[in-house]
């Protein structure tokens, strides 16, 4: 790929992804570990999992989210380091401070990943030069990153993964489709193993194959996400950078093609909305105290119900029961709904005051779980893991 682009037309988005971030921090802080396989995560003697593996460890096949015991078998000589999240957060802040020096338009995806809008028309600088500058500045911190430079978030993200570690991959305007075409469909966030298998069944293996489909076939194969996946396979993605600044609330709503009526349907959609919103809250690093539920009936009348909690939360396990209670206040089973919405406002820092008597231990544990799920989604795509509906007892099933 030609990296000396004389003039860049249109938007320029960088996706900066730190290389083996946690493991690199450990190697930075422990010089004697540099060049050696380092695994951050739970002890291989217990039931822990790998949080991160250095590139040296990855050569042995060690991957994130792998059971520690398995990783220990693959790489018996690895250095095992317990996770020090406060330290990672500290270095993450240093990295994000670098981004902040470049542009205010930064969308953090997690501690080690962000999108930056460096559109030359407003930024006045060659995007490739900016990427090189960021990479050297990260080098100076003793860390390493890979960067994708493209015209959209979707392509930039795929590009940053193209040459890792310490790569800069530029996809100049107009070359998106050619860049994507040879890549396997799984390169696109949102296409997991089972979807890929379904696509392979009809001969669609690369993003080029996918891009060549007509919208109707894509919809048939991929469901409601078909249109957007098809567009992204063609290199089209107009989503703006979401900086989360001055945000007063986070909300999501869903309009149904046919009205929904049953408790199961309505509650299922409400759960999905709560999960979407809470996941976005966590990604933005905020929590909220005020919960709002919005309904639109078949006759287009709209109703909302709102409640303010004692403390802020970013957890579905805490907000979902509130959402369902509010729902019950404004909706009776059988009434048709054409729209359902859920939002959280009163946003504050998500820090949680712990309780001396452990009254919050469930929430704390749930928070750990959700952060783990967020990490998996961040790495493998939104659809890679989902939370099932609560399991019902056999008696309930009989009645239902």
């Amino acid at each position: 790929m030609d990296e000396s682009v004389p003039s860049w037309t249109g938007r320029a988005i960088l996706h900066v992804d730190m290389d083996a971030f946690f493991a690199s921090v450990e190697q930075l802080d422990h010089p004697e570990w540099r060049g050696r396989p380092v695994i951050v995560g739970g002890s291989p003697d217990g039931r822990g999992v790998v949080s991160a593996a250095s590139y040296e460890a990855r050569r042995f096949g060690v991957r994130s989210a792998m059971p520690s015991a398995q990783a220990a078998r693959l790489c018996p000589d690895a250095v095992w380091a317990p996770a020090r999240f406060d330290r990672y957060r500290e270095l993450s802040r240093a990295v994000f401070a670098l981004f902040g020096d470049i542009t205010p338009d930064v969308e953090p995806m997690s501690v080690d990943e962000a999108y930056l809008d460096v559109t030359p028309a407003t930024h006045g600088e060659d995007p490739v030069g900016v990427a090189q500058r960021i990479q050297s500045a990260v080098d100076e911190l003793g860390l390493s990153c890979s960067i994708g430079v493209a015209t959209s978030k979707s392509v930039a993200k795929i590009a940053s993964d193209h040459r890792k570690p310490h790569g800069i991959t530029v996809v100049p305007p107009g070359t998106e489709r050619a860049f994507l075409a040879p890549l396997p469909v799984t390169a696109l966030g949102g296409i997991g193993r089972s979807t890929a298998a379904r696509l392979a069944g009809v001969g669609v293996r690369t993003l080029g194959d996918l891009a060549a489909l007509d919208p109707a076939t894509a919809g048939h194969l991929l469901g409601s996400a078909g249109t957007s996946l098809l567009e992204r396979a063609r290199g089209v993605d107009a989503r703006p950078i979401d900086t989360g600044r001055e945000r007063k609330s986070v909300s999501a709503e869903h309009t149904f093609s046919t009205d929904i009526h049953t408790r199961d349907e309505v509650e299922m959609h409400m759960r999905a909305l709560v999960e979407r919103v809470t996941s976005r809250l966590r990604r933005a690093g905020v929590a909220g105290r005020t919960v709002t539920v919005k309904l639109r009936f078949a006759d287009f009348t709209t109703r909302t119900a709102q409640r303010t909690l004692a403390g802020p939360s970013d957890l579905g396990a805490e907000l979902e029961p509130v959402a369902l209670e509010l729902l019950a206040e404004v909706w009776s089973v059988g009434t048709g709904l054409r729209l359902l919405g859920f939002g959280v406002s009163g946003l504050t820092d998500p820090s949680r005051q712990l309780d001396l008597f452990g009254a919050d231990s469930d929430a704390v544990r749930h928070g750990e779980l959700m952060r783990g799920i967020d990490a998996i989604r961040g790495r493998f795509g939104e659809g890679s893991i989902s939370i099932g509906p609560p399991r019902r007892s056999s008696r309930e099933r009989d009645e239902g």
Partner: protein, 366 residues
Amino acid sequence: MKVSVARGELLDALSVVAKGLSSRTTLPILSGIHVSAHGEDLILQSTDLEISIKTSTRAKVEKPGQSVLPGRLLNDIVRSLPEAAVSIDVGETGEAKVVCGTSSFSMRTLSADDFPKFPEVSAETTLSVPSDAFAGIVHRVSKAVSRDETRPILTGVLVVMDGSDLRMVATDSYRLCLSEIAVGGLSGQMEVVVPGRALEDVARLATNAEALSVGVSENQVIFSFGATTFVSRRIEGSFPNYRQLIPKEVETKVEVDRGELLDAIKRVSLMAQHNAPIRLSVAGDEHTLSLGAQTQDVGEAHEDLQVAITGQDVEIAFNHAYLLDGVSVAEGEKIAIEIVSPLKPGLLKVAGSEAFVYLLMPVRLG
């Protein structure tokens, strides 16, 4: 009833019973002050059914009797009067006349028969405590009293008299404060949970008396000081086992000048907005305790204090207001901060003493 009393003394007595006036409008009689005149005494009473207060003052009783006068109004009137003799005259019609110099007021009264009888409590145990020492420990623990009525036991303070120690413990489930003093001449033992608000009132009212006595009966606790008797209901239920919560072994101990720490917390807290915590980092090599706070989209603050450290380096985050409360009520030049681990409660003590313990649960960073 007809009685005459010096304005200053009447106002003092009214200020005492004003603490017991009820704000509940459903029972109008409770917004009144029961006034009775006998022999050479004017006796005032008030109650909100949770606490009952009785106090007396010397008076010239021309005609003995009793009545119930509107509490707030009587207070406001007497407060506004010049320093002279005040006469209160309640006639057959049930109207009260309050006269002082050239000012005169008349007001409706309520029947003394309808006023709740002052609880006759026979204390099983009684102890006497210097009132300034009592007020000191009440002040220290009262910040940690819970305001959340859903767990009534935590709205109270555990008062323990054990041998020669007077100990109070309060917790709102985020922090726990224990303060104790050695009181000479104590005999006997008692353990009672008293509503926090009542205890604060007693501490404030008793400052004029040298000592106060505390008596405990099955359902009530009685404080007597000067001419005043203050009865409060006890809070039922068992208070959390505080001994079990206080860590026996810690990993890190920091000794720091209290004034410096207090000022640093106040400064750094300015950047702990919107629920953001204050972070404490202990670095043994550099002998520093660093305080930091950061509010998204606003900014951050940082301050290093030179301190004496034993044990491991650690980082822990606290709610800044709770931390400030603990440091501000600790009495001593040096404070010891003791930490087990970032998600276990931290301890604030007065260095070299076990008489004050402020246990504070950390904040888990989001």
